[in-house]
């Protein structure tokens, strides 16, 4: 295949960012949760692969929201289980 597609430029793919360690610590503190209680995202998710996220990273996803205008979600990168 000649052309490569950058998924991040697709209009339906929201902004993905890898969060720094301090940010993650803040996040966990505000919600009083452990890392495991965050929603998950697979390590081989196209957007995660593109921004270079690795297992254990927390990804901040900033979406347009129909109700709130802008919504942030945080997801922990995990390995995709086989089958």
């Amino acid at each position: 295949m000649g052309t490569t597609l950058d998924v991040l430029n697709h209009e339906m793919v929201p902004d993905h960012q890898i969060m720094g360690e301090e940010e993650v610590a803040d996040l966990l503190a505000t919600y009083h949760i452990t890392l495991e209680q965050l929603p998950k995202i697979y390590h081989d998710d196209p957007a995660v692969k593109t921004i270079g996220g690795e297992v254990g990273n927390v990804i901040r996803i900033i979406r347009d929201s129909r109700t709130a205008g802008r919504a942030e979600a945080y997801r922990l990168v995990v390995k995709r289980p086989k089958k």
């Binding site: 949760i33 209680q37 965050l38 709130a68």
Partner: protein, 882 residues
């Protein structure tokens, strides 16, 4: 109470024969249950060591009485091993992936590592599957040529080998299989995803069978004194009998053929004992021919242990009967038959403050003669929790005895709060709290305005009623579940309770255009409302009698400071709106609680889009809104009764002129269709982009015929004016549409299957009444007649075809959406919004960081928006805002 403990982990494993023998209290060898005196045989299936069910006897194991003994397991030593049906797939897999001579995994260590991952890498945990092993290969450990393993349901395994070019099947006995499984080394099992510490594979082949305690298979004594044994006991009797015979034959050195037969029979009995619905195995039957309910059937399915006994249970303090309407009840009330109110109770604790009242309840006793008599009590509970049933005989003694510390179970009386429910309970408004009104009759009564949330009608629907038994439950029911706090739907943020059918027709008739009422008429209309003063009359007639307008009458039920402007459901969406001068009187303007112009209909008070209702909720609260619904329903019913409202066959009559016009339109359309077919046949038809010629023609025909049907509707509609009941109902949005009217009076139109004209039937034609390959309108389901004029036989047939499709669609849709709903509810049921606004599971895992991303409860919003901006501006400016 001991402190709660956290479940650290749950381990699933298999019972080993050793464990089964260890937990067994008795070896069972006799197939008999009771001797002639009705005493259990020792070492029989009802052995006293296995627990007791007859009162009076004591368990020989734990020495407790029937009520306290939990029961104990016994065991049966099987003459030869048999396969456990539940594990046949595991057995098949293990046989196929291990060597037939050395029982090692058919892979080299390197191959295993490639799949499973290195021992100490943290990503280990992959499992070797059947697909990873090549078929009929040679064992890498001992060099043995492997054979294909055939598995035949339910429990037969065989090896296939080729002899003289022919395939020969050799049956494996359970003993052979067990021997192979025994030899599989532990580390190979781990690679296969089996933990050999808790589940050695040979334990899936039973050598000893546990016998469940009698307490889980109690025998019942019929009226004629005969004992009837549980299905499990019957099955165990079969197993023991065959097992004994097997042993005897074995000891006597019977021929191999007989041994094999008995072995298979034993296998069959053990299989059906475990699961009586296995594929490829005839179910074991009771003498009466009913299939036995064995172990697996006790657990499976809707009535099984999980869905039937653990997730769902039956309850006390509930009632069920047919529902019927009563528009004089408030929406927050429910009418309850006296018989039910007498039967159902709620407990009240006696204190020094209510003791006199309680004493009176007890004195009134369990029989309340009329709906107006004071309520009584059915039980009194002493401080030591002894329950005393009240009857005429002990009323006075008990009344004397009561003192603080007792509890009196009082009958239901007016204004008690109860939960009312109609299945299927698809959303939370399917259960709402109502206030009791005790009534004569035998049905539950409810205001028809609360039908929409329950999706109830009165064609025989039944509903359930539950009585909250504690003060907390009653408070919760009142605050969270009451009808008045559920007027707004959490789905749309708009009202879901409101006027239906005749309420809408009635309010439409009442408020349409400007009419004047005499004082008598006004009082008739308002007699059920609590209106204290009539407003200033609009004018005085020639005789000096005061007259009020219909809009003034409606304004009586509006809050004083209501201001709003909107368009009614009867609005025609004209290009330029003439607003207050609207010829349909569809422009509604309410200033300071007075209806200035416009007709109130579905858009105003309807159940799903009542705008006035919504505005009142936002600005005056739920209580006022509930009162508004009560008032409007009562007023509209009076409004419709003032003139009467009916519909008959002659309401569909048109005049000769209209019938002529309709025939003209239909003839024109049919000849237009014929013309287009002619063009097509001559090959002159221009195809539309992306369509074939046939598709183009079909689309044109559908279009022409559709238009013709609409034209007949217009012709009929022109004749049938606002004095026609069906038109009133269609325009006001109460029921039906102009399309229904078209089909009754004008023409039924094209019948379709999957959006196309009817094409199926005989060879090249739909019915033998038509020529082959005829394409005309009538030959493919166009109906020129109306319901009034009656259908011709061919038309009737086409109509049945189209009607059947609709029925099939609804049947399929309900079953599919029901299952979809079940799965969705199961997935979502334990999620809740935490105090910090996040949506979490019970384990504290976050699903949404903010509920709905904006933290808004749609049930407390204005159609999803947090603030009803339009409403606020309208109430200040008193005019329409764009």
């Amino acid at each position: 109470m001991t402190s709660p403990k956290r479940v650290g982990r749950i381990e699933f494993g298999l019972f080993s024969p050793k464990e089964i023998r260890k937990m067994s209290v008795r070896k069972i060898i006799w197939a008999d249950t009771y001797d002639d005196d009705g005493f259990p045989y020792p070492q029989g299936l009802m052995d006293l060591n296995l627990g007791v069910i007859d009162p009076g006897l004591r368990c020989k194991t734990c020495d407790q009485k029937a009520a306290d003994c939990p029961g104990h397991f016994g065991h049966i030593e099987l003459a030869k091993p048999v396969i456990h049906v539940g594990y046949t797939r595991l057995i098949r897999k293990l046989l196929r992936v291990t060597c037939r001579s050395c029982s090692r995994l058919l892979m080299t260590a390197e191959e295993v590592e490639k799949i499973v991952g290195h021992e100490d890498s943290e990503l280990a945990g992959e499992i070797v599957s059947e697909k990873d092993i090549k078929k009929e290969r040679v064992c890498p450990h001992c060099g043995e040529q492997q054979l294909k393993i055939n598995f035949e349901k339910p429990t037969t395994f065989s090896e296939v080998f080729v002899e003289d070019g022919r395939k020969v099947e050799h049956k494996l006995t359970p003993a052979d299989i067990r021997a192979r499984l025994e030899r599989i080394p532990d580390e190979d099992l781990r690679a296969l995803g089996v933990n050999p510490d808790v589940a050695r594979p040979e334990w899936t082949i039973l050598t000893v069978l546990p016998v469940p305690p009698v307490t889980m298979r109690p025998s019942i004594i019929l009226e004629n004194g005969q004992r009837s044994e549980d299905d499990l006991t019957h099955k165990l009797v079969d197993i023991i009998r065959i097992n004994q015979r097997f042993k005897e034959n074995q000891d006597a050195g019977a021929p191999q053929l007989i041994i094999e037969d008995l072995w298979e029979l034993l296998q069959y009995h053990v299989t059906t004992y475990l699961d009586n619905e296995v594929a490829g195995c005839p179910p074991a039957r009771h003498r009466s021919g009913r299939p036995l309910k064995t172990l697996s059937q006790r657990l499976k399915g809707k009535e099984g242990r999980f869905r039937g006994s653990l997730s769902g249970k039956r309850v006390n303090f509930s009632a069920r009967t047919v529902i019927s309407p009563d528009p004089n009840l408030s929406i927050g009330e429910v009418g309850i038959p006296l018989a039910i109110a007498n039967e159902m109770t709620l407990p009240i604790r006696v204190t020094q403050f209510n003791i006199e009242e309680m004493r009176q309840y007890v004195l009134n006793g369990p029989e309340r003669p009329t709906i107006r008599s004071p309520c009584g009590a059915n039980y009194a509970i002493r401080p030591d929790n002894r329950r005393m049933r009240l009857s005429e005989a002990n009323l006075e003694t008990v009344a004397e005895m009561i003192e603080p510390g007792w509890t009196v179970e009082r009958q239901l009386k007016g204004n008690d709060i109860v939960l009312f429910n109609r299945q299927p309970s698809l959303h939370r408004m399917s259960i709402m709290a109502h206030r009791v009104v005790v009534m004569d009759g035998k049905t539950f009564r409810l205001n028809p305005a609360v039908c929409p949330p329950y999706n109830a009608d009165f064609d025989g629907d039944e509903m359930n009623l539950h009585i909250p038994q504690t003060e907390e439950a009653r408070a919760e029911a009142e605050i969270l579940v009451s009808v008045s706090s559920n007027i707004l739907s959490p789905r749309t943020g708009g009202p879901i309770i409101g006027g239906i059918h005749d309420h809408i027709s009635g309010i439409f008739l009442l408020t349409h255009t400007v009419r004047h009422f005499s004082k008598d008429e006004v009082l008739y209309l308002t007699q059920h409302l609590d209106v204290e003063h009539l407003p200033e009359p609009d004018r005085i007639d020639e005789n000096g009698n005061p007259l009020w307008t219909n809009k003034q009458v409606f304004s009586l039920v509006l809050p004083d400071n209501l201001n709003m402007v909107f368009k009614a459901s009867s609005c025609q969406n004209c290009e330029t709106c003439r607003r207050g001068m609207c010829e349909n009187d569809a422009f509604i303007r309410i200033v300071n609680g007075n209806l200035i112009s416009g007709t109130i209909d579905k858009k105003g008070i309807g159940a799903f889009d009542g705008q006035i209702l919504h505005r009142i909720i936002r600005q005056h609260g739920m209580k006022r809104a509930a009162r508004f619904i009560d008032d409007v329903t009562k007023l509209s019913i009076r409004g419709i009764m003032l003139e009467g409202f009916s519909f008959g066959i002659d309401d569909e009559d048109l005049t000769k002129t209209e019938y002529g016009q309709i025939d003209e339109v239909l003839d024109g359309a049919i000849s237009d269709v014929d013309r287009r077919i002619k063009i097509y046949n001559e090959g002159q038809l221009e195809p539309m982009p992306g369509r074939t010629l046939e598709e183009t023609l079909e689309m044109q025909i559908m279009q022409v015929l559709g238009k013709a049907r609409d034209r007949t509707g217009e012709i009929a509609g022109r004749h049938l004016g606002m004095d026609n009941s069906a038109v009133v109902m269609a325009v006001s949005g109460a029921r039906g549409s102009m399309l229904n009217l078209t089909q009754m009076a004008g023409c039924l139109g094209q019948q379709s299957v999957r959006g196309e004209r009817i094409m199926r039937g005989y060879e090249d034609r739909t019915l033998p009444h038509f020529r082959r390959n005829e394409r005309g309108a009538e030959a493919h389901g166009f109906i020129t007649n109306s319901y009034k004029s009656g259908l011709s036989p061919t038309e009737f047939f086409f109509h049945a075809i189209g009607g059947r499709e609709g029925l099939v669609d609804t049947a399929v849709r309900t079953s599919q959406s029901g299952y979809l709903q079940r799965r969705m509810i199961n997935a979502l049921q334990d999620l809740k919004v935490a105090y910090d606004g996040t949506v979490r599971t019970t384990g504290g895992r976050i699903i949404q960081f903010r509920y709905g991303e904006d933290g808004t409860d749609p049930g407390r919003s204005s159609y999803g928006a947090p603030v009803d901006v339009k409403g606020i501006i309208e109430s200040v400016l008193k005019e329409e805002v764009k």
